[in-house]
Symmetry: C2
Subunit: 339 residues, 2 copies
Amino acid sequence: MVKRQGKYTLRFETCPQIQGFASVAGEKESKGPLGSEFHRIIYDPRAGCPTFEQGESRFQQEALSLALEHSGHKGDELDFVFAGDLLNQCVSSSFALGAFSAPYLGQYGACSTMAQALIMSAVFVESGAANLAAAVTSSHFASAERQYRFPLDYGAVRTPTAQRTVTGSGACVVGKGNCTSLPVIEAATVGRIVDPGVTDANNMGAAMAQAAADTLLRYFEDTGEETESFDGIFTGDLGFVGSQILLELLNKEGLCIDKLHNDCGKMIFYREEQDVHAGGSGCGCAASVLCSHLLRKFVSGEYKNILFMATGALMSPTSSQQGLSIPSVAHLVKICAPR
Amino acid sequence: MVKRQGKYTLRFETCPQIQGFASVAGEKESKGPLGSEFHRIIYDPRAGCPTFEQGESRFQQEALSLALEHSGHKGDELDFVFAGDLLNQCVSSSFALGAFSAPYLGQYGACSTMAQALIMSAVFVESGAANLAAAVTSSHFASAERQYRFPLDYGAVRTPTAQRTVTGSGACVVGKGNCTSLPVIEAATVGRIVDPGVTDANNMGAAMAQAAADTLLRYFEDTGEETESFDGIFTGDLGFVGSQILLELLNKEGLCIDKLHNDCGKMIFYREEQDVHAGGSGCGCAASVLCSHLLRKFVSGEYKNILFMATGALMSPTSSQQGLSIPSVAHLVKICAPR
């Protein structure tokens, strides 16, 4: 059974385990600080396919195949796949995951989708609905740029607050398990839609920071836990601008996580050398950082306890063109070493 | 706990109850066979808003507000809202549901989203993750036409196999309950992605029929139930073309549901008089038919047991322009009178 703690937080008593995880990233990401930690680098942005969009699907397929391999399970053992991406109608996922023949439940939380899919996997495993579930997301710089902004060939100039969509994918295979070296999902807080009125789609970090603060404050209020019990609190993807705003918002509320906090959008690129402005973004950013650097540190024993909170900006190009602000959401997952 | 039956089917032992439901439809839908059964008709396609897209959000808000009212619950009692729509980045939902301040988990299953959101609600309630959850979806003829096909002003001619996107929304409030007059969710089978190779985005019924057959065959294989035990088996939205294909596919497999079957896309419009070609479609079609005609028949005592299976075509305009076929999915929910 899933238990509720406080008004918003879910606790998973049997602690669904991340039995396998994998990350796949593109060439630019391979040159960033986490380059050596991704499980596979695909240098061709089309991944051998005719289009960027199909290439992105290939990234997802690779990530899920590798995560399954690492878990020791086969695709036909998957009871459910929870997946999503940024493309219109989530086509990277639907074209990727038919290959696995598993029951499919498409998720949309923009860049928060990896945390959302992990929460779904945990609820389904904990409840008995699934013995084995997978969470997969991806994003792709080239497919996102032409959908959200301009075709690459236009050579459009980006603003300093703009984030760069990560080309990458991450996948987790979640099941009941008691392997002593693999992390478990112990709790989760689902985000509410928060809209602070930011209308600049090139400054999504500012819009999402409020949602991140809302979720994190509710988590600590519900659980009464101390920030010091965590090895780190990782958001994704507020980038440099949004991260700063988050810390300021939390400090105003008396919650200081300055020394514990990092953001997947800050971690994945060298800001100056790689000219990424406000950092990385995209469903594939938080997913590929989680499924490389962060989860590897549980396997090595360095981490015992983290919060992973992915943030999503829920606007569309149409809503932005119509002058609307950016509703945002942040979903939080507590990941721990097994007891 | 959620129980698994056979390889694919979920059974909800405490039978989460649909404590309130509501449907909101547009003017054309109000003139169809179900016109008198919708809970509210909004005649202005912009619902008093500046744009069709914002109008669609208003339809969702109205449907959820009414469903809450019917359930006797208030918005702040909702532990989770599961919602989705057809617009890019699911903006009808994200702009609609911020108003309710409930934790939000966006779902994307194209026109299958209502069944998917109901399954999520049932799993979350059954598992203890939620005391009260809501499932909401919408679609809108004008916002869908200009996104998927052409702006209305172009006066584009539609093919005979094309379906007309329904302007409407449906919402269900799901919780633990034992009201004797309200239906419960007893079982569900989640769809797999099926791609029969149809590339004509104006013939989505043909693409989705295979997915519908796949899910229905797995449900009967898992449960061993007899078709005769049902008052009806309702798909949404295969329309006239897809429905015929589904029945043929099932007959080939030895499953005859011809006398029990109807399709939300066939039920919502008068085909000839309303010039709707192959019938209705859209997340709002299955949702508004379920949350009016179908669920009302449980309240009146006419129905005891139905299968509601919403189908989705998971392509995008981009994937279709790139020449790809249409991956499809169908999610099934068994809805019963309480025991």
